[in-house]
């Protein structure tokens, strides 16, 4: 029996009720900070949308990103996104292997036609040793990436590795790893619209929401200066942190077991990178909405930002390491709100510079 092409028909065939579908759209609209009425138009658009073919490529990565999206035992709203797309290739999840798997990919690309499919990339691509550090089926990751995205509508980089190089890219970058954007800028693979859904790993609802946005409108969402979808990366962890009032009052924990830490004071002095990290952890949280790192008592590592692994110690306050300008930011403990904005601005400038230097 042929699978229905319209998403609404497909969901009904799968036994997913319209109420569950409405709920998905309401949750996504809320997560994307869209007006509440958006949920209804999202449902209407999605219902008649075509199930988009998606090819998911894994390169130098730990599979934590795929794990983030699929971790749950019970069907969650995030995993519902797998019903919205036609996942035609994912070498970790698919039953087929070897030539059969590669054939499935080629057929899906041919069936979808030019501009008719999306490519999700997980992991960085190594150029060292002729690409030998990451290869399968006799092809290097660079070749696989280039061939697969040639006719793609857009590339969604899931995780910090494919977005910015991530941990493989960390100094001394032994495999000469690159991000997808770097490879496009260098002309090593065809240039396509790129959406960076960074994070180590990214928040499941952010992955699902970005895909849902594309399926709803048929175009990529508004992006920030690092090509991250603004609905999720528009604010810093610090902007929405529940410990923020203590920052304003100048109350900072000095050790992980001191009185301040126990009282829930700000973790800035313990190295929290919240003020320069754009992500939605503070609002969407993790593990079924349980908490996020700062709520568990540890500072933010800044994992959705480029070069987070090389930013100095995770336990040194921002003023002492990451920004390299202790003079300006040293008075953070007393200065209050303006510092967060200043640090964020300085970091954006630093990222912009890093981007220009490529």
């Amino acid at each position: 029996m042929d699978e229905p092409q319209r998403l609404g028909d497909f969901l009904l065939r799968r036994g997913i009720s319209r109420r569950a579908f409405m709920k998905f759209c309401t949750a996504m609209a809320s997560a994307m900070a869209m007006p509440p009425s958006f949920a209804k138009s999202m449902a209407k658009n999605l219902e008649s949308a075509k199930r988009e073919s998606v090819i998911y490529l894994s390169f130098q990565e730990c599979t934590g990103c795929a794990e983030s999206l699929t971790r749950s035992h019970s069907p969650t709203l995030e995993t519902l996104i797998f019903d919205f797309i036609s996942l035609d290739y994912q070498d970790t999840l698919m039953a087929a292997a070897g030539r059969a798997a590669e054939r499935a990919k080629e057929e899906a690309i041919k069936r979808a036609g030019p501009g008719g499919y999306l490519v999700v990339v997980d992991g960085s691509v190594p150029l060292g040793a002729g690409g030998a550090y990451s290869a399968s089926g006799g092809k290097t990751s660079l070749q696989i990436l280039g061939d697969t995205i040639e006719n793609a509508a857009a590339v969604i980089c899931v995780g910090t590795c494919s977005s910015f190089g991530g941990i493989p890219y960390a100094d001394p970058n032994p495999t000469d790893a690159r991000s997808v954007s770097q490879l496009m800028e260098a002309g090593k693979v065809p240039s396509k619209p790129v959406i960076n859904v960074s994070g180590c790993p990214p928040i499941p609802v952010v992955i699902a929401g970005t895909l849902a946005h594309y399926l709803t409108f048929g175009r990529i969402p508004e992006l920030d200066h690092l090509n991250r979808p603004k609905p999720f990366f528009g604010e810093t962890i610090h902007d929405r942190c529940y410990r923020r009032p203590y920052y304003e009052e100048g109350k900072f924990a000095q050790a992980f077991d001191d009185e301040g830490a126990r009282s829930g004071w700000c973790l800035y002095e313990l190295g929290c990178k919240g003020p320069i990290t754009y992500n939605a952890c503070a609002t969407t949280k993790w593990n079924g909405g349980t908490s996020f790192p700062v709520e568990s008592g540890h500072g933010c590592l800044g994992c959705s930002e480029p070069g987070f692994w090389d930013g100095g110690s995770f336990y040194k306050p921002l003023s002492a390491g990451m920004l390299g300008d202790p003079g300006t930011l040293g008075a953070a403990a007393a200065a209050g709100a303006a510092v967060g904005a200043g640090a964020a601005w300085a970091h954006r400038r630093r990222n912009a510079r890093a981007k220009e230097e490529g």
Binding site: L12, R18, A29, S30, K40, T76, T283
Partner: protein, 146 residues
């Protein structure tokens, strides 16, 4: 809540209640349902949210929908103003809204579900016995693929 309690409400709560009144006015005049996303509001303290909840009070209807986790639909003391909390399968809150409508969308049976239900029911029914009463001549079954 007594009259004095309303006088003492914090400013952000009063502002939010005014917004609810504007939306209810729109529903009354134009029949247009609207909603407020409680998670998109600028940071409100848990105490503010609690006094907002107290001010809205409790109405006649309390419903639970079970579809990919629960959704609780609670009418407030002001008819057509509903407090709707959407939970994920793990019990986490995935959305929370004040919905101003005759009936929140999540409660209304959708047309496609009706069609699927009718089909399931007809398929489950035994064949009519010979000589017995004929099956009712209902409208033809609508199925989304038609």
């Amino acid at each position: 809540m007594s009259e004095e309690d309303w006088e003492d409400l914090p400013q952000p709560v009063v502002a939010l209640l005014r917004e609810v009144a504007v939306l209810l006015d729109r529903l009354v005049r134009e029949g247009e349902p609207e909603a407020i996303d409680l998670r998109a509001l600028p940071v409100m303290t848990p105490e503010d949210l609690e006094s907002f909840r107290d001010a809205l009070g409790t109405g006649e209807v309390h419903a639970t929908v079970t579809a990919l986790g629960e959704t609780t639909v609670r009418e407030t003391a002001f008819p057509a103003v509903w407090w709707v909390t959407y939970y994920g399968a793990d019990g986490d809150i995935v959305a929370e809204r004040i919905e101003v409508a005759r009936v929140p969308d999540i409660l209304v049976t959708q047309e496609a579900d009706m069609g699927a239900g009718l089909r399931a029911l007809v398929e489950a029914l035994p064949e009519p016995r010979e000589g017995g009463p004929a099956a009712p001549e209902g409208p033809s079954i609508r199925w989304v693929e038609d």
